[in-house]
Each structure stands twice: as C-alpha cells, then as structure tokens.
Amino acid sequence: VTPEALLQSILASLPEIIVVTGACVLLIAGLFMGGRGLVAASLTIVAAATAASLALTGEVRPGYSGMFVVDGFASFFKVLFYLATALTLLLSRRYAEIERIAKVEYYVLLLFALAGMMIMASATDLLSIYVGLELMALSTYVLTGFVRQERRSNEAALKYVILGGVSTGIFLYGVSLIYGLTGTTQLDALAASLAGAAPRDPAFLLAVVFVVTGLVFKIGAVPFHMWVPDVYEGAPTTITAFMSVGPKAAGFAVVLRVFLNPLVAASDIWITVAVIAVVTMALGSFVALVQDNIKRLLAYSSIAHAGFALFGVVAGGIDGIASVMLYLLIYTFMNIGIFGAVVSMRNGDVSGEAIEDYAGFARSQRGLAFLMLLFLFSLAGIPPTAGFFAKFYVLVALVEQGFVALAVIAVLLSAVAAYFYIRIVMVMYMREPNGEFDPALTVPVRIALGVAAAGTIGIGLFPAWFLGLAQASVFAGH
C-alpha cells in the first residue's frame, strides 16, 4: 500500500473515521460530563459524518485494496443509518432518564453500532463485511441488556449474544470454506470464479448456505427469526426501535450488495430467497395476530416486513434493488414513528407495552393518536401513506420480472398483516379509556415524531422522486 492509496482510502472512509473517533472521544470525555450534553454531542458526531458522506457522493471511491467502496448504493444506506441513529438519539433523551440508563456508554455504543452498519454498507469483501457485522452486533448485544436491573432485558441480551454468536460463527465458517474453494474473499472476484466453477459443486453450495444463514439471522427472516420477538421485547424500547430499522437495513445492504452482482443474480439462488420470503412473511403476519404486547407485535411485524422486502431481492435487477432500498427508507420513518409513540408512553409507572394500555387513547391525546394512526396505516400499506408505495414498487418489480404468483401471495399476506395494525387503531379510537394518559412528549420526542411523520407523508406524496433517488444510487454503484 502506497501512502497515496492510503490517503485515498482514508478519504473514502472519512465518515466512518469521524464516527469512530467521535465515539472514542465521547467515551472518555463523557465520563467527565456528568451525563449532560451527551445527546447533543452524539447528534453532532452524526451530523459531521452526514456532512462528510454527502460531500463524498457523486463519485465511486474504492479503498483499502478493494475491501471497501463508497458509491451511491453505500451512501444511500449510510444516510438511512444516520437518520435512524439521529431519531433514536432524539427519542432516547427522556426515556433513558426514566429507565435510568442515561449513561455515556449507551450513546457511545449507539455510535459504534452506527459505524459497524456503515462499514457493512461499504464493504466489498467478506472479511470487511464481517468486521462491520461484528462491530454492529457486539454493540447491540450490550445495548439490549442495558437495563441491568430488569430480568427481561438480561434474558434478551443473553439469548441475543448466544444466538448471534452462533450465527456469526456459521457465517465465518462459510467464509473460510469459500476462501478454501476459490482462494478469495472479494465479492467481485468471487462472482467471477463462481462463473467458471461447476455451479452444483456441493461444497460451494454448503459455503453459500452458511454465509446466507449468517445474513438471514441479522435481517430476522425465517428460519432464523426466533430471537426477534424475545430480544425486541426485552431490549429498551429505544434500542428496539433502532434495531428494527438500522441493523436490519444493514443486513439488507449486504444481501443487496451480493445481489447487485449480475452473475449472482443470474444464478438459481432466487428460488431459495423466494421460499424464505414467503415463509417469513406468512409467519410474521399470522403470529402477530395473537400478540398482546405491542413490542412483540411490532417484532412480528418487522419479521413480516423483512419478508416483503425480500420479495424485492427476488425480483432483482436495478428495479428490484431500488424498490428494496426505498422500502427500507420508508420502513425507517414509519417504524421509528410508531416506536416513538410507544417510547413516549413510558412515563411514571406506565410501561405502555400492552396493547390494552392504548384503549381510548384518542379521546385525550388526539395529536399523538392521530400520528400513531398514520404510522400504523403506513405499516399496513394503506394509501396515500408512504407504506403503500413501499409495497407497491416491490410488487411492480416482481410483476415486471414475471413473478405474478409471488406478487399475489405478497398482497394476500399483507391483507392479513393489515388486520393487526388496524386492531391497534380500533383499540385507540373505539374503546373507553381505562385511566389517565401522560405520555412523555418532550421536545426531542416531538421533533423525532415530526420528522418520522414528515417522511411518511412526504414519501407518500412524492414517491416517484424517492424511487428515482434509489435507482440513481444503484446505477451510480455499478
């Protein structure tokens, strides 16, 4: 590596360097800050990284001997991660104080998780993917168990770390097999050697299955979804909001990066993905019907959404990939929005986790109830909210590729999913209230809810522009 190449690499990874350095400084400085100004400091770091990322767009910059790249695809996902992290930070301000977890480590770990996700989005080598994956995963393991006094949080963290460790181990084993068979871990070189090799080589198939297992675990798709409900329920609600959008989108970023490659897209692997997509969506939608805890319900809803987004991966091509990217962006807005409402319900002795707690919510809290209605309608995919267009473009991509049967299945399963979202709306609007409501609507939470609502409505009003943005990002990547 020459010093010039290193400088180029440093420039390409400047946003990551900003986040990691900022987190390290905050880790030490935070110990002397006495718990004040942590959110503002973290937001400043995220803003600086956003500025760096935006300044770097428009040009494809490879770095670190082909292990890392900044292209439109990576930049799109990084902006999504900044958004998810910034909104989580805003929601955390009051919630962390109520749960007594407002410590410097909480914010530093969020920033490290952000850095891990950014590396995943930019990684073009199985090893750099692994580094990003681990950085993100280790941070989220600790964040899951951050409420140390609560058994549920501890249990969730333990489950998550054991299952996550196993899945990462399987992923690494797959990577080692791939290296043994092809002599490379770079995605492009891999696809090239895949074209030459016999496609039905059982050892290679095994290796691919192992790698896919590790990634499917991260996006929470069947059959590696079992951790999702328990972890989402036990983790602090702000972290659940973060995990349901950030790490999930990062997992998709890696899956899509692999599928961006035309050689992979031309193989028969889409059949496997299609089966996973159908089963994931069916399981998420049907099991969510019987949930009483809103965090568990949203966990199954997130499984169902992962299944729907996988349909876009099945469709493949520029349109399919762009539709998944748009889906993830919209999902970030609407899911952080609904979790924001749940977070604000946690105040005093109210946990706001049982769906029954929301009975008659609309009587006294018109504004917040209306926002929840908006987010729930969007999650259900009812026009004119953004959630409708998220699903719509995936379906369009599916039909254009000739997967009409899959599109029909997807629509039918979303109809099932719509039921449990509407059920919450019914509880809020049609039932008599059981008691008083006192949501912790602080200014940061209001801002976060406002941004989420603006995104949900804004993308619903101008979906074509945002789809064009996603498509341009994919084009710029290749």
Binding site: V1, P3, L6, C24, G180, L181
Partner: protein, 121 residues
Amino acid sequence: MTGMEFLPALVMVTGVVLVALATLYVSSLLRPSNPYPAKNMPYECGVDPAGEAAGGRFRVQFFLVAILFVVFDVEAMFLFPWAVVLKEIGLVGYVEMFVFIVLLLVGFAYAWLKGALEWES
C-alpha cells in the same frame, strides 16, 4: 477439485478424535471403577476444598482482569507478525499499527477511569 487439498486436515481431525475416544475407552476397560465421595472431591493437595472459589463463585474482578488480559494478549499476538514484516509494509504499516494501539489505549483508559483496575470497591 480444490477441496482435495484439505484432505490431510480432515484426516488429522478424524485421527485426533479417534485417538482421544480410543484412549478413554481402553482405559475405562482396564481401570478398576470404585468411586467414593472423597475421591470425587476436587483435588486440592489432599485437604478439603476451602475458600471462596470452592463454592463455584468467583469475584467479578477476576472476570474483568481476564477480559483486560485478552485485550493485551491479542495486541501482543498481533504485534509479532507486524514486527516481522515491518520492513516490507513500510511507513503505512507503521502508522496503521499506531492507530490500532491508540484505539486499544482508549479502551484501556476507559477501563482505568471506570475503576475496573481497583480490586476493592
């Protein structure tokens, strides 16, 4: 097929497992089996087990020290190959190692400031 190159490794793994199992099986056939409570106790030089570790509970500080040890252990292991190839990788490799060590030092400073190195709390 390239997989054949790894055949010796497979033979080695199988051999290790077989030797271990065979040793255990053969010795179980040959030795007399006569367990009694005193024999099943943990061996502590012939005395009854005593002290805090005997109950299976360790002070949490041992765990912290172990974690900190792993950090520096890995760093040292990483430094050896780096030192061997330092001339070939030049200035860039030199700088990169310092970046790594600074990141480690941040972690160490954090542990120190948090009081992880204080035995009595």
